[in-house]
Amino acid sequence: MTEIRGTLRFILNDSLVELTDISATRTLLDFLRLDRHLRGTKEGCAEGDCGACTVLVGRVSGEGIAYESVNACIAFVGALDGAHVVTIEHLSSPTGPLHPVQQAMVEHHGSQCGFCTPGIVMSLYALWMRMPEPGRQDVEKALQGNLCRCTGYAPIIRAAEAAAGFGRPEEDPLVLERSGMVAKLRALQDGSRIEIGEGRARLIVPSDVEDLARVYAAEPEATLVAGSTDVGLWVTKFMRDIGPLIFIGNLEQLQGIEDTTTGVTLGAGVSYTRAAQVLARRFPQMAELWHRIGGEQVRNMGTIGGNIANGSPIGDTPPPLIALGAKVTLRKGSERRTLKLEEFFIAYGKQDRAPGEFVESVMIPALPAGEQFAVYKISKRREEDISTLCGAFRIFVNDAGTVGMVRIAFGGMAATPKRARAVEAALVGRPWSAETIEAALPAFSEDFQPISDMRASADYRMLTARNLLRRFHLETTGAGQRLERGAA
């Protein structure tokens, strides 16, 4: 029988926090600012968009701790058991010297009104620990999730590039004290389930996947919380009553990454950041897409399982995974079933998932030799923006130059992520040529009747979707290079 603990435990900066009375929907930001009066961490939006609330969360990983930036405004305290939370207050004491990253920000004038500054410092701190001398692109990537309205960013980027000149990570307290912290965090892990609160307000952290399977089967009306980059907004923005919360973000068994010759299997709890490492290697065509999902904080939090399970028509992972023929494994109690990812999406807001059933893993088959694959994300703002549409293409052209196999999937074109079966049918068996493409274009209107919304008109979506097929054709036949390059 699983032990049940009624206390949530984590380390905040340098002190142990033990909570026996915490609301399941308490965000980390409100906890810091309102309960702990740690007001260095700011609130600019409460929905993950601005990064003013960035803090670091460290978790034991192998022999060390991986510290990652997260948006405290949409992170729940309930997800923090066994973690080390580091806020801006930890970087320097009121009387001591500034941290190297802070000093660089002062000297390069990276702060004006100062409201975005603590969040930016934390993002840069995470970067500096990992990569003390970053290139400009690394800096931009680390700061994708941080908005600043005052500085115009240039001074911040200069500060980031200069930070190593003010001090090296080897001397940083978090690095020096890492082994001690590992021991402290290990000591908090006792293999028990956590339950706090009553009835619909309950907070549950299962002890492992078996425990999750039991708890969820028994409480199918509960809401699973993985990275909370969706669920966080239900609380802060939509004020939805979402019943007991089951926190699954840190269940070790959902964190697995299996990389074999036949394909890659990702546990549902694998974050975008961790998935990116293996997927960028196995499917380099997807690398750019990964870097354009959310900002760094969202990529550190959000999970593959969440991106699939939420059923959003504009999620970025389903189109490429459908095109690649991915399969998803669902589990309820001790029962498992596996289905094609495209079959999982039934209609808007409706997936093939029974009450009490959860996504356990997703298997992405390796790209067979000779096949070509690409995915394109089109968004209004290039960085940190939800897709207007996302198109993925996979094709096998046989020696005769005809299309042996083709698979096309789009997000943002229908109520679910969806295959373009009519277009596929118009291509297969025909020469992979500009003429075939042109002849196939009308089939798009059989597959899709996109809507007009603020992101784009239906016409724009249709035109762009067709252009993407043209582009894929050019890329696969022309110079063999990707038709995209930074202008700057």
Partner: protein
């Protein structure tokens, strides 16, 4: 010692050019920087008092109508809820406009726009208040709402005070060798300062104290007092640090009055922080505009006529109208002239001043039109502008106080490498990108606003500056310290600057680019007064006096301050605008240059580099000034390419009321930006000889980008922002020019 100085005559010289401390203008780091990077600067939502409770505003869910009842039962029954506070008469309907001294529009029973705050739910915790806010049942009698700006433009009513005309523009257009007559449209926008509006209110006896996120404390205090029926001296506003404003915090907004009323009703301190959605829905916006610009020119490129007429929107009873032609009126010559605004009444959140009201969007149209005219006449765009600089104000016949625009154009052109530009559009291709270059002039009016400061020279050779001036990120703390250090011969570290508290002398506040020069002048004058006392004490004339390193010197004689100042010396100075305001055209000027890439297949636009050369009188701190310009230029990128508040024309809602969908530029959008300041002194502006700089960087920046887009791909888009869907259908054949 109190002195008042009125700016009636140009000043001959400034002491700042004679004190030789090498502190003024130096690019020193901002003095409060260490506090900010450590998260220790405290903003208005970060004060906590014993017994403090939290309020959450509830907004209307219809765009027009009347409240017929509020049922509190469900909300009150929730745990932790203390009160549902509303006051149909006293609650603010709209935020105030900047510099107003009367209460903004009050009364919330009538609904004028979607999201109008109508009640405040107060609870022990923020979470409880937020929950209960969602459970407040409000019944409405809806009325028909006016929501579609473009459809209603024919009903715009002229704003009389803005109508100006000279000569016969229609005739000039007919006789012109070349003319432009076109319409530009710009969308509704939001300042989107990173700190949401917030107030923490508490009563001490009959005095109200509000920690508020505001830009102009002295007029905000009057607005708040008037709204609550209090004498101004019974209201104290504190805003030590403000997380950006860009116009959105010029006047008071609804949360202050709500928090004050709730604090009085409950006899407890109340904190109200607006959500990001509320900031979008209920504070202020920049109006959408429809701008018709007409240019008539001879074959030599000299303008013979210029017209700039603008339609904007605002709520019923509000007459602010984005003054899009503000700089058009004096930037270029041409005998025949016509300017004027008209306003469409709409049920949408208040239109008011956002960074560079007028120029920020007006110059998109004017400078776009100038680019089109240059092409029509086959004259280089830089040259066209230089040919049309009027010797004096073309209508008022006043001299310019200073204007280094020609120098900025020349310097900018050479620094940017303008000579290498190919004037023919769609003629430069690199890989998958069309490359283009564009330019625009920058101009922004300069103002002086009454401002006071107190400077105390202590017995410890330190000086203390006190004024209710704010620092909203602009660098006020730092430049005031620099002015005092320069004037008093003390190191910057020996100056303490206390800002953001109406208990201190009333200042201009931060707005309209007038803050630094106005508040700076008051500090300058107070220090000048202190210098006179020190001069007397060592028996020198003020001219003979030299202050440095905490010593007063006259020739070879020197005495330390510690001997001269045995009691703290206090001087309070006030500067007031005077006749130089009426006798001169005052503005800061500059030139923007931009290079962009337009993707040949998708129409995506990337800004590759920007250059700005500016002249704004004396630059008080080269680093803070540069940041202001870079920040402004990036605002310009947003204005040109991404920012657009989308109003639903059926429901009255704002579709993109969050930072996910209201697209500010992000780090990766920002190219290399160079900023250069030219030496200049403006003797009619103020005794510092400085002009405002906070809004100059945005004025014209977006136009340079749009002109570069045209040069890149040959598409003139006059409907901002330039999103890719507006380009994609009309992109030139990618094979026309090979890379």
């Amino acid at each position: 010692m109190n002195i008042t100085f009125k700016m009636d005559e140009p000043v001959g010289s400034s002491l700042l050019d004679h004190t030789r401390q090498n502190v003024i203008s130096r690019p020193i780091d901002r003095i409060e920087g260490p506090l900010k990077v450590a998260g220790r600067a405290r903003y208005s939502a970060e004060f906590k008092f014993p017994g403090m409770v939290h309020g959450v505003l509830v907004g209307s869910t219809i765009p027009a109508g009347t409240i017929t009842g509020i049922n509190e039962t469900r909300a009150r029954a929730l745990p932790g809820v203390l009160a549902v506070v509303t006051d149909y008469e006293t609650f603010l309907r709209n935020p105030g406009q900047g510099l107003e001294t009367e209460a903004p529009a009050q009364g919330v029973r009538e609904i004028a726009y979607f999201g109008q705050p109508v009640a405040l739910v107060v609870a022990e915790t923020f979470e409880a208040a937020r929950n209960a806010a969602g459970a407040l049942d409000i019944a409405y009698a809806p009325a028909e709402a006016r929501l579609d700006f473009r459809a209603l433009q024919s009903e715009a009513r002229p704003k009389e005070s803005s109508q100006k005309s000279q000569g016969d523009l229609d005739r000039a257009m007919m006789d012109a060798a070349a003319s432009i007559d076109a319409v530009w449209t710009t969308p509704s926008q939001n300042s989107a300062a990173m700190e949401p509006h917030a107030s923490t209110a508490l009563w001490e006896g009959d005095t109200l104290i509000v920690y508020g996120a505001y830009q102009m404390l002295s007029s905000d205090r009057q607005q708040l007092a008037d709204a609550l029926g209090l004498a101004p001296d019974k209201v104290r506003i504190i805003a030590h640090y403000v997380g950006g404003g860009f116009g959105a915090k010029l006047g008071i907004s609804q949360e202050s009055v709500a928090a004050a009323l709730a604090a009085r009703a409950l006899n407890r301190p109340v904190q109200v922080v607006m959500t990001r959605q509320q900031v979008f829905e209920a504070t202020v916006r920049r109006s959408e505009t429809i701008q018709r610009v007409r240019l008539a020119a001879g074959a030599d490129g000299r303008l013979t006529g210029i017209g700039h007429e603008t339609i904007t929107a605002n709520l019923p009873d509000e007459d602010f109208s984005e003054p899009a032609s503000a700089s058009t009126q004096f930037l270029y010559g041409g005998e025949a002239r016509r300017f004027g605004n008209s306003i469409v009444t709409l049920n949408q959140v208040l239109s008011a001043s956002m960074r560079a009201p007028g120029e920020a969007v007006g110059m998109l149209a004017l400078e776009g039109a100038m680019d089109e005219l240059a092409e029509a006449l086959d004259i280089d765009p830089v040259e066209l502008r230089k040919r049309n600089l009027p010797p004096r104000h073309p209508m008022d016949d006043l001299p310019f106080s200073s204007r280094s625009l020609a120098e900025c154009l020349d310097h900018g052109a050479s620094a940017f490498g303008w000579a290498d530009r190919n004037p023919r559009p769609a003629n430069r291709r690199e890989g998958e990108w069309w490359i283009g270059q564009g330019m625009a002039a920058a101009a922004r009016s300069n103002m002086l606003i009454t401002s006071s400061a107190r400077v105390t020279l202590g017995t410890d050779s330190r000086a203390l500056i006190e004024t209710d001036m704010t620092d909203i990120g602009t660098g006020t703390y730092t430049i005031l310290a620099q002015i005092a250090a320069e004037m008093l011969g003390l190191p910057v570290e020996a100056i303490d600057v206390h800002l953001g508290d109406t208990a201190f002398p009333a200042a201009a506040g931060s707005g309209g680019s007038f803050g630094a020069a106005s508040a700076g002048t008051s500090v300058y004058l107070a220090c000048k007064r202190l210098r006179e006392t020190l001069a007397e004490r060592i028996g020198a004339t003020p001219e003979e006096l030299v202050l440095s390193e905490g010593m007063a010197r006259r020739g070879n004689a020197a005495k330390p301050f510690s001997e001269l100042v045995t009691e703290p010396l206090v001087a309070t100075a006030t500067v007031e605008p005077g006749k130089t305001e009426e006798n001169f055209v005052q503005a800061a000027f500059g030139a923007h240059f931009a290079e962009v890439g337009v993707h040949v297949h998708t129409g995506e636009i990337r800004v590759r580099r920007m250059h700005g050369t500016f002249a704004a009188g004396r630059i008080l701190n080269e680093k803070t000034a540069r940041s202001q310009c870079i920040g402004g230029m990036v605002f310009g990128i947003g204005t040109a390419l991404t920012e657009e508040l989308v109003h639903d024309t059926r429901l009255g809602t704002i579709v993109n009321h969050d930072l996910a969908e209201y697209h500010l530029p992000v780090h990766a959008d920002v190219p290399r930006i160079d900023v250069v300041f030219l030496e200049e002194r403006d003797h009619a502006a103020n005794p510092l000889l400085a002009k405002g700089i906070g809004e100059l960087g945005i004025s014209g920046a977006g136009a340079a980008i749009a002109n570069a887009v045209y040069n890149a791909c040959g598409m003139r888009v006059r409907d901002f922002p330039l999103t890719l869907d507006k380009l994609i259908a009309h992109l030139p054949d990618p094979d026309a020019v090979q890379p």
